[in-house]
């Protein structure tokens, strides 16, 4: 195994070649806020929350999909990065319909958590109030598109861990949305095994178990990472 050494916020760190900057930062004890990243599945760089500055590279790059290379000098907190992160979160709130007070995920929501982390006290963008659907055709689960931030975590867990590939993304721009099957009601999709991995993966109150009411969601994020480690390293206990 070859090793690369780099600096993150002036901390020296050595990681295996091929490691992402996000994992390298973890190694160095540096926290970078994320939303679309989920331990156990591939990264797609969808949310841009993990943007970092790399010396000698004019643009900001997402840490979750950028490989650490020899001699890199990375900075994770600058006024510019903090401002962009806050803008990203503000745009997510203005884009969908987030009414935390009546949301299943209130208190257990990663979007709320990052809003606090980036210091968002209001959004400077005009709320769009889009018309979006709720699909409760599945016997056990529901999806409320009002709260979806298009992180595609559901798409990736279902494809990569469960191997069912029920979820996908359709449309572009404001029309983009996650779909089940061939854009069918979730309850009509035979491929769905009702395993609930998407419920555990969703960072917001978008995918939920039926019967859960305000602030009641209780997710097991670690389960997904555990399943992957179990398969890869044959560690069958948690």
């Amino acid at each position: 195994m070859s090793v690369v050494t780099l600096k993150i916020n002036d901390i020296d760190v050595a990681v295996e070649a091929g490691t992402t900057l996000l994992d390298a930062a973890k190694e160095a004890g540096v926290r970078i806020p994320t939303l679309c990243h989920l331990d156990g599945v591939s990264d797609v760089g969808a949310c841009r929350l993990c943007l970092v500055q790399i010396e000698g590279i004019p643009k900001l790059l997402p840490a979750c999909v950028t490989e650490a290379t020899e001699g890199m000098n990375v900075t994770t907190e600058t006024p510019e990065l903090q401002e962009y992160r806050r803008m990203v979160v503000e745009m997510l709130f203005a884009e969908g319909n987030h009414v935390c007070a009546v949301c299943v995920a209130n208190e257990h929501c990663e979007l709320q958590d990052v809003a606090i982390e980036v210091g968002m006290d209001h959004t400077r963008f005009t709320y769009r109030f889009p018309e979006r659907e709720v699909d409760i055709s599945h016997p056990q689960f529901g999806i409320d598109h009002n709260r979806c931030i298009l992180c595609t975590r559901c798409v990736r867990v279902c494809d990569e861990i469960e191997g069912a590939h029920v979820w996908d993304v359709s449309g572009r721009g404001p029309a983009a949305k996650v779909i089940t099957g061939l854009n069918q009601p979730w309850g009509d999709v035979d491929a769905c095994t009702a395993c609930g991995k998407c419920v555990d993966a969703c960072p917001t109150g978008s995918i939920f178990r039926k019967g859960t009411t305000v602030a009641e969601i209780d997710r097991d994020r670690g389960k997904l990472d555990f399943l992957v480690t179990a398969r890869e390293e044959k560690k069958w206990t948690r």
Binding site: A101, N106, E107, A115, I116, G119, H122, Y127, E131
Partner: protein, 182 residues
């Protein structure tokens, strides 16, 4: 030191933020030491918003013509305007009607479909304020100096936010205790 002239107003909200303000309990005596309540649905009988207010807590979103008129008056006559609670900050639950596009579906549903046998749409110009087409957070209409999120903000959060203000300082709005929505 002159007492701070403190006002609170109630736009489109459930009054929960005001109830939470009353939850300050005995700390309200402290407020009274430093501030005169010059206008408030829970602390004063005045019907007209006075001039030269120092600090105003605004609960609620802007949903009808009365809210709109009042928020412009408040902005004109207030030094420090605070968006108080999620309805003021995000428009929150009152804005859920925005997704229906206009006021018509809401009025029809509430006053005609769910009304009794003499159901009719409310229409009394000058007495019943007309609904605005879109419910909006306060800062989309006037400039706001401080945001206190929360549905409602807890009494400790309110205290932490206004205690410095009563002494002429700015509060630090950071961390879960001060910022979490909902």
């Amino acid at each position: 030191m002159d007492k701070v002239k403190l006002a609170t107003v109630w736009l489109a909200g459930c009054s929960g933020c005001h109830m939470s303000f009353l939850d300050l309990d005995e700390w309200l005596f402290e407020v009274a030491k430093f501030a005169d309540i010059v206008y408030s649905p829970v602390g004063s009988d005045l019907k007209d918003y006075p001039e030269d207010v120092d600090v105003c807590l605004v609960e609620g979103a802007v949903a009808n013509e009365e809210n709109l008129e009042l928020i412009y008056t408040v902005r004109e006559r207030t030094k420090l305007l605070i968006s108080f609670g999620d309805c003021a900050v995000t428009a929150n639950v009152p804005a859920m009607r925005n997704m229906l596009g206009s006021t018509e579906p809401v009025l029809k549903r509430c006053y005609l479909e769910l009304g009794d046998e003499t159901s009719q749409l409310p229409h009394e110009p000058g007495i019943v304020p007309e609904l605005l087409d879109r419910v909006r957070p306060v800062h989309e209409l006037v400039s706001v100096d401080l945001f206190i999120p929360g549905c409602p903000p807890s009494a400790p959060r309110i205290q932490a936010a206004i205690e410095p203000l009563l002494k002429g300082e700015k509060p630090v709005m950071e961390g879960r205790e001060m910022l979490k929505f909902g």
